[in-house]
Symmetry: C2
Subunit: 216 residues, 2 copies
């Protein structure tokens, strides 16, 4: 599959590297064509990896991952010509963290709206799936590293898009029974509002190598 | 121990019944002295159970549980003479759910404040511990009913109060390793902001007999 990764930080690099290793062709996008992180990543990630602008990555991918910082996601995505998103699956991994009031960060949007919904409204021709935002990037792509079963949440308005994302999650190592479909994109509120708890548990444990599981 | 349970709904009844069975003396409080739920509960719950007004229950208990609906908690607690809370441990189990905009409910306070913090500010002489608000009442008092280990979160500004609450949780069946201390009362934000996810998982599973676990 051709996949565009928008964002050059730890999340984008972890997803891009794993996707390329799995055999996908991955183009990492950033604001500028010559981003140092992206070009270094592309050299390391091998022959299926390339990099360019956000627009280059969006045009290249059948499936796109939004790995930009939540505070800049809307601006980054809206800087790309809308036609590049036509019919595309956009996996929104970002969290709308607001560090302007100090630590721990608050959310810049929550409760009655979410970043996932804002992105879907801004890009009505894309099929937005919120996923993987509730854990550290290392856990996203190698779920087998934890000591026991744990879960990932997905939501979005397009069932086919969610099925494709489920397939990619399966490739990462998430079996179907650990993937919780929470319904339409409005459930991005629930997924993003987990972040304050995640940050407190990070503080309690002193490391980010954990995740939540729904026990029945 | 003498325990006051404020609120006569499912949560108050589940906690009151379990606490009385464990040997504690429990007084359930409500707005009126002759609340039908409370008197029926007290008859069923046995000789260690009694009922009265919110003030009666608050004066009676060394440890108090706030089991009122989140939307009415502040009014209910502030109707009690402040002296009744002097030095008392107040376990806040409520969630600030706002049903006025339809389903699923939103939160009436979140992100930069929480019901737990509002209660602590309103009752500065009480020692507020947020706990148990992240699960169904049946799971609170019988954690052994689920298929595997799962966790409870606590926070509060007073370490002794948290230690006492930990002891009660142990009695309910929560071993120490399943009790996550998230720090000061400001972490009530994190615990309460779990509710939207809880409600979506309830919707996905079709029943409330589940809980979250932190997997490392």
């Amino acid at each position: 599959m051709q996949i565009g990764v928008l964002g050059t930080g730890n999340v984008g690099q972890a997803l891009g590297t794993r996707l390329a290793k799995l055999g996908h062709h991955v183009r990492m996008g950033s604001r500028t064509k010559d981003n140092a992180n992206a070009s270094k990543w592309a050299r390391k990630a091998g022959k299926r990896a390339s990099h360019g602008t956000f627009a280059d990555a969006a045009e290249f991918g059948e499936v796109l991952f939004n790995c930009t910082a939540g505070s800049t996601s809307l601006a980054a995505l809206q800087a790309v010509p809308a036609a590049a998103f036509e019919g595309k699956i956009l996996v929104d991994v970002a969290n709308p963290l607001d560090f302007s009031h100090g630590l721990p960060p608050t959310l810049s949007v929550c409760n009655t709206d979410s970043l996932g919904e804002q992105i879907q409204r801004a890009l009505p021709n894309a099929r937005v799936v919120k996923a993987l935002n509730t854990m550290n990037n290392s856990v996203m792509v190698h779920p087998e590293q934890l000591s026991d079963q744990h879960d990932v949440f997905v939501c979005g308005d397009d069932a086919d898009a969610k099925a494709t994302v489920r397939g990619i999650l399966n490739e990462f190592g998430w079996p179907d029974e650990q993937i919780h479909d929470l319904g339409g994109i409005a459930s991005a509120r629930a997924q993003e509002m987990l972040l304050p708890l995640w940050l407190q548990v990070l503080n309690e444990l002193g490391h980010p190598n954990f995740n939540l599981r729904v026990v029945t």
